[in-house]
């Protein structure tokens, strides 16, 4: 569709577009900055909407909204059971995390019951205090929904930590030992988590790992265990629905998957699945559907570790036992698992660390030698060609007058030659003369790389606007990177 006409714009502000029209408008707005601005102005020019009360619609809470004595700072996540917000406790002047359950889910009686259970459980959990458990401070109902006030842990989930930091297996085991202690403490007090997975483990800025969302998912499963073979009673566990989601099938023990009441041994199983995923990059069992997954677990078909895994076999043996299909074949308790896991990791720890250090040193050496020996400073041609190559030259000759195409070519060639000289100089100083610290070289190169990107952008804009003089004026100075340092 073309640009928005007055009727469409009017219908948009008055929300009377049909879904098809709306879809067309949306697609157009995605690509037309002019109409987007027009729409923005149109919306701004409307009379102010009536001020809305804070409704308990999880995701709609905006910074500054007030719930009881808590003021929302920002949304920090979308959990399985509700939205999670960072908030300021105005009374105790501390930052807390608020878990908010959407109002519409509280309306049905089933959910009301769920909320009641959750509320009770949260209150009980509030009494459970352990350094490896994200504390629950308070739980109360607000309007139609339940608010759980939890300890605020700056940092992220273990999943993010794994993806971002690529920690060593030792660091991973260390983090899981901490999480495990929290689980063990909770088991001792009679709580079962029921949804242990890397997304529910947090690593704080202090480097300490904790288990979170404790019990928040559990209350609903406290229904009487459904009879074996009944298919409907198994809670629905689709990962993406925002309704009541309890447990995540991929991490669940087979007993739990089949609808049995979750036990501490189920948490143990989920813990092992999570640890397996953290250590080897994949979960131990493959199975696209629930029934296939159960079959794989029952057949004990645990995926082989990747060929070059450094994880010692003693650690793997711990995992395999915790992944046993029958709860009674797993460790008698979380505590027992941790004890064995700790021992297994410590026995091999020192040796592996030494090897690791040696490997790293070797790798560093190799890379230096590779740089230093055959050709310490290879010509930067591939980089330059990405900016100004034959097809581009041809394209420009086709659009610009012959004279100015020649001019542009000369300007760019001169610029890139200057860039090359600067590169050679920087490279030589570091890798041949050893006069310049490597970090300075890297800093310069990142800066100079940025220059090339800008040049690339300028070249891209040439066919519309360009002449050589304008181009010359807009090229960033090569020597602006000379002083780059971190």
């Amino acid at each position: 569709m073309g640009c928005l006409d007055d009727d469409t714009l009017l219908a948009l502000t008055e929300r009377t577009l049909t879904p098809q029209e709306q879809e067309a408008v949306n697609s157009h707005l995605d690509h037309c900055a002019r109409c987007l601005r027009l729409v923005a102005n149109a919306m701004r020019a409307l009379a102010a909407p009536p001020p809305e009360e804070v409704k308990c619609e999880g995701p709609a809470l905006v910074p500054g909204a007030r719930i009881d004595r808590y003021v929302i700072v920002e949304q920090v996540g979308t959990g399985a059971t509700g939205e999670v917000y960072a908030a300021e406790d105005t009374k105790l002047k501390r930052k807390v995390a608020l878990k908010v359950l959407p109002a519409k889910e509280a309306r049905s009686s089933e959910h009301a019951q769920f909320h009641m259970r959750m509320w009770k459980e949260a209150q009980a959990l509030a009494q459970l205090s352990h350094p490896s458990i994200v504390s629950v401070f308070d739980a109360f109902t607000f309007g139609e929904c339940v608010i759980i006030v939890m300890e605020y842990v700056p940092g992220g989930t273990v999943r993010r930590w794994l993806a971002e930091r690529a920690p060593s297996w030792q660091e991973i085991v260390l983090a899981f030992l901490q999480v495990g202690r929290g689980l063990a403490a909770a088991h001792d007090t009679g709580f079962v988590h029921r949804d242990v997975k890397p997304d529910n483990m947090l690593i704080g800025a202090d480097g300490k790992a904790r288990i979170s969302d404790f019990g928040l998912a559990s209350a609903v499963l406290d229904e009487p265990a459904p009879r074996a073979g009944s298919s409907i009673a198994v809670p629905k566990c689709e990962l993406t629905t925002t309704g009541v989601v309890v447990g995540t099938p991929a991490y669940m023990a087979p007993d739990q998957l089949e609808g049995a009441r979750a036990l501490p041994a189920s948490d143990q199983f989920s813990f092992a699945v999570s640890l397996h995923e953290a250590l080897y990059g994949e979960r131990p069992f493959r199975g696209a559907s629930r029934s296939k997954l159960i079959a794989e677990i029952r057949a004990r078909r645990v995926c082989d570790p990747p060929p070059r895994s450094h994880v010692p076999s003693s650690v793997r043996r711990v995992l395999l036992r915790a992944l046993a299909p029958r709860p009674e074949d797993r460790f008698p308790s979380m505590q027992a698992l941790l004890l064995v896991l700790e021992r297994a990791s410590r026995r091999t720890g020192r040796w592996v660390l030494a090897t690791l250090a040696a490997v790293l040193a070797l790798a560093a050496l190799v890379s230096v030698v590779q740089h230093a020996l055959p050709r310490p400073c290879p010509p930067p041609d591939p980089l330059l060609e990405a900016v100004w190559d034959e097809p581009q030259k041809r394209a420009l000759r086709a659009t610009l007058a012959a004279e100015s195409a020649v001019e542009v070519d000369r300007t760019l060639s001169e610029y890139l030659a200057e860039w090359s000289r600067a590169y050679k100089e920087a490279c030589k100083a570091t890798w041949i003369d050893h006069q310049q610290p490597k970090r300075v070289f890297f800093a310069r190169m990142t800066c100079m790389n940025g220059l090339l990107e800008r040049v690339k952008a300028e070249v891209g804009a040439l066919p519309q606007a360009g002449n050589a003089r304008a181009l010359r004026a807009s090229l960033p100075a090569v020597n602006s990177c000379a002083a780059s340092r971190f």
């Binding site: 007055d6 009727d7 714009l9 009017l10 219908a11 948009l12 502000t13 008055e14 929300r15 577009l17 879904p19 709306q22 408008v25 949306n26 707005l29 995605d30 690509h31 900055a33 002019r34 987007l36 601005r37 027009l38 729409v39 923005a40 102005n41 149109a42 919306m43 701004r44 020019a45 409307l46 009379a47 909407p49 809305e52 619609e57 999880g58 995701p59 709609a60 809470l61 905006v62 910074p63 500054g64 700072v73 920002e74 949304q75 979308t78 970090r439 890297f442 800093a443 990142t446 800066c447 790389n449 940025g450 990107e453 602006s480 990177c481 780059s484 971190f486």
Partner: protein, 296 residues
Amino acid sequence: MGSSPSVTLAKAFDRCLAVGALAGVSRDVARALNSLTEAARGAWPKVTVADEEWARHLAERVDRKAVLASLEALDAAGLYLTCACLTGSDVALAAFDAELRGAPKAALQRLHLDDAGVDEVLQRLRQRLLLGVDGSRGLSHYSGRGRLSAWLRISAVRIASDLRSEKQPVADSEERLLSMAVETTPEIAASRAELREHFRTAFRTALASLTARQRSLLSLSIVEGLGIDRIAPVFGSSRATIARWLAQAKAALAEQTRIQLQDRLQLASEDLDLLMASVRSCLTLSLARALQDRAR
């Protein structure tokens, strides 16, 4: 009004519609025409338009496939006034000028235009609607499907928007997003030039990696400073959905920026940590706050 206007009106309307299949105007349509006309003349008692003229004006604006339904949905008063203006009635033109000083003016003031700016836009609007720019008078484009005041408001906003675009090219909203990100993050604003440059490049690449929808959302929210309540109707979604999309877009932007920065600055350094920390806080918190301040 008695029954005679209804009859002449219906006849004229039928003639103007010139639909062969429609053997005469149905009773319902005649009744609708009559009440439409009564409402219109009631709203502008001093404005007179001949039945023939008025019937043609209406006939040109109804949906021939659903005459009755579209007739009933029209803004009678608005159409009557514009019809009279197009015939050149002085009374109508005076009334129209009064209309311009109502809804459109208030809307322009909400766009934070000063008095001179408001006058300029109203002047242009008047010219475009009454004198016409491309042969036909702009007023003839009024379809009657929305209220006249709303339509005038939209037209005023469009002119204001065009004026703004003349002074401030629209193409670089990404660039403005970027400079806002840089300026509103103290750590980045204060950092050395090359760090800023890294941030810029990383941010730009990160922006490019978002979906078009995410970019439009961020643009409306951050560059235009619209609140969730204002953005929701644009996409025909609930404010909850918009809030979630926005949060996702911001998170994706922060995450991508971080990844890009990490790629670029391979050296672990205090500067990098500082930058990372501020990128994260910048895109989620300080930026949001800075923008709320702007919107206020």
